[in-house]
Amino acid sequence: MKIGVFICHCGENIGRTVDCPRVAKACEWLPGVEVSIDYKYMCSDPGQNMIKKEIIDKKLDAIVVGSCSPHMHEKTFRKAAVAAGINPFLVEITNLREHCSWVHDDIEAATEKAIEMVRMSVEKVKRDQPLTTIEVPVTKRTLVIGGGIAGIQAALDVANAGYEVVLVEKEPSIGGHMSQLSETFPTLDCSQCILTPRMVEVYQHPKIKLMTFSEVEKVDGFIGNFTVTIRNKARHIDEDKCTGCGLCITKCPIRKKAYNSFEENLAHRPAVYVPFPQAVPNIPVIDETVCTHYKNGKCGICVTVCGREAINFDQQDKLVTEEVGAIIMATGYKLYNIDKKPDDSIYKGYGEYGYGKYKDVVDGLQFERIASASGPTEGEFKRPSDGKEPKKIVFIQCVGSRDESKGFSYCSKICCMYTAKHAMLYKHKVHDGEAYVFYMDIRSGGKMYDEFVRRAIEEDGVKYIRGRVSKITEEDGKYIVKGEDTLAGMPITIEADMVVLATAMIAQPDASTLAQTVGIPYDKHGFFNEAHPKLRPIESTTGGVFLAGACQSPKDIPESVAMASAAAAKAMVLFGSDKLEREPVVAKVSADLCAGCFLCKKVCPYGAVEVREVKTRDGVVIKEIAYVNEGLCQGCGTCTASCPSKSVELAGFNNEEIFAQIAAL
């Protein structure tokens, strides 16, 4: 076997601490090495041409390149090798930059280490097997989880490109938090007016299969080939028969037993309900927990009034299986409920602000509903306790955000903007009212965002006070807000009629469970992790699963929409070809050696190990063995390390190759 060794100086990056000509010279004498040369920039065109020329001239069988990390230029050198007729997996990269020159300063010792490192690679490349890339088919359908603005945007983009979409939403209607908002910053356009046309478009799109009141239960398979099990929860109403006339809702006698979660518990709803009038689909749900029929079987008024016989008390959950090639996560966020928590809770809550105790201390989404023309007060500012118009409102920012002690370390990003909007909306309707905002910093980066906050201060006379509020107490229907103006260095007490808390945006409480079901990593707060914080912000580390919106980190509407379109584009990149190519660095089980202990199945982080039966010709099962699904395997090698009988081998990194490398040291 003839091997070529190419040592790169990487400008001065390697050359400064490693004597590259000496390394090249020393490697000439290694057994099997036909040619060994150094060059200033091996990745440049002349460098690559040099490699190609040597491969052809010296009839080389394999090459070793001593350069930067394989993350950087493995592909470059493999391409050069392929162009000169060598299998790309007979190219070994020795990382002389990150593993040697960058971390040492003694030239003599670093040079010695570099020679050792190249020698190891030479021994490995001698044993490398030529491999061919694996091809897997692609199902050109997309699953979108979550029907808020991010999910809606992603579904529409993919569907408009001509690919089928399955959109799964947990709630009875799509629309998400955006449908609850009154107006949106920085333009103050009506949230529902811009959202509902898109909801209807989703509903009517021939390429979108909409599954509301449904949850993803199980995800099997791998990039391009996922099998998803979805639980379609029982509405107790036949979706095909219901016309959405709403007669059952108006006639239902249970009016005050359940809070309306769309109105953020500021109003009640009947036992049979649609979340809001513009719901898509406009099909009600019967709430089993409060409906009289499920208590004693007596009431049946809805059945009597329904002209379509759509009420079906016996309806059961349905499990639906869908085949998709890509998954877009768009599960959004929740607001941190900050009322006083029980002692065993991981959250501490803010007892000092009296949320949950004082009726007129509300959170941001509740204030959105109070400000909304379709809300419980029909857009008139009335405080929840007595329905009076508040003449003085205090807004408190960073409640739960940037608070290591009682909340979360991160900034929720949107609160500065929506608080300015809230104060502005209030001032526009209550001209003699006063609005105070307690803030720590104003973070208003974005197009026309800072101008918006300045407008609240300069044009609408909202008073901004820099400082955190310490405590809120109640005295005769007034809320005494104690703060400190840290800029003036003066204590400030405001007697407010109402207090609005800009509480932190947190991940959905079941986000971590869903992440485990889908098989993607998440951070300590429950937000899904992107593959790279800068260069791969849309992809999860699991192939074929993409992220959109606030499920990745707190985001406003434009950012969520942009991310959703990007996720749609990423899914469509997958669908651009009929077959997916992937690296053949996957584990393979030897059927003869495997004893079927399935330790590998337990340790595999990607769920790639399956159980296979070995049968005789007559169909009698002899034993069960492990089998690695090439599509799912990411080549991490955990199974190889754990196998007691050494019967799993990782292609390109088998035991023989690794041991030869170690022995060369």
Partner: protein
């Protein structure tokens, strides 16, 4: 790889860090401590500002302030701080440092009061209000301040004529002896 060597001077901020095991840089100046402080109105510098002065290296201004001496140690600030910065502990360290450095606190009567209080503890093992008042007034010569409040306090039983001793006064004395050396 180049390495940097710092000729680090041990500052008062470091000293306070050694005493409290927490870094003043933790404070991001939200002012929640000052907002909730029950004695804030009597202080010359807001509690968060004392931290700010130490952060910026204006040690003299911080140590001269009456704020640390008026701090009642009620811990409201410490329990509400979003950064889990124990401000009550910090104030303790500032007081200690002020004494160590011999800084003249703006209101010298405050220290007289603190010393009179400690003397009662030293003698009786617990607070003896009449003794405290007597010592403080004699030393400061504010003989007739607040006299009008004493009948009310006597009636409510807030001022006991005779001191109450504790069982083991000797141990308390030992504590004073040991800590006084430092």
């Amino acid at each position: 790889m180049s390495s940097h060597t710092h000729n680090h001077v041990h500052t008062i901020a470091d000293d306070i860090k050694d005493k409290t095991f927490q870094d003043v840089s933790l404070c991001y100046q939200c002012g929640k401590c000052s907002a909730g402080c029950p004695v804030r109105y009597y202080m010359d510098v807001a509690p968060n500002k004392v931290v700010r002065l130490i952060q910026l290296g204006f040690y003299e201004e911080a140590l001269k302030s009456t704020t640390p001496w008026l701090c009642a140690g009620c811990m409201t600030c410490s329990s509400r701080c979003p950064q889990e910065f124990d401000l009550a502990k910090f104030m303790d360290a500032v007081r200690e440092t002020a004494i160590e450095k011999g800084v003249k606190v703006k209101d010298k009567d405050i220290i007289t009061f603190h010393k009179a209080f400690l003397n009662q503890i030293k003698s009786f093992g617990r607070a003896y209000e009449v003794g405290l008042v007597a010592e403080y007034k004699l030393k400061t010569m504010h003989l007739f301040d607040d006299v009008d409040s004493s009948p009310g306090m006597l009636l409510k039983g807030k001022l006991k004529v005779l001191p109450h001793n504790i069982k083991d006064k000797e141990s308390v004395k030992k504590i004073f002896k040991k800590t006084a050396k430092k």
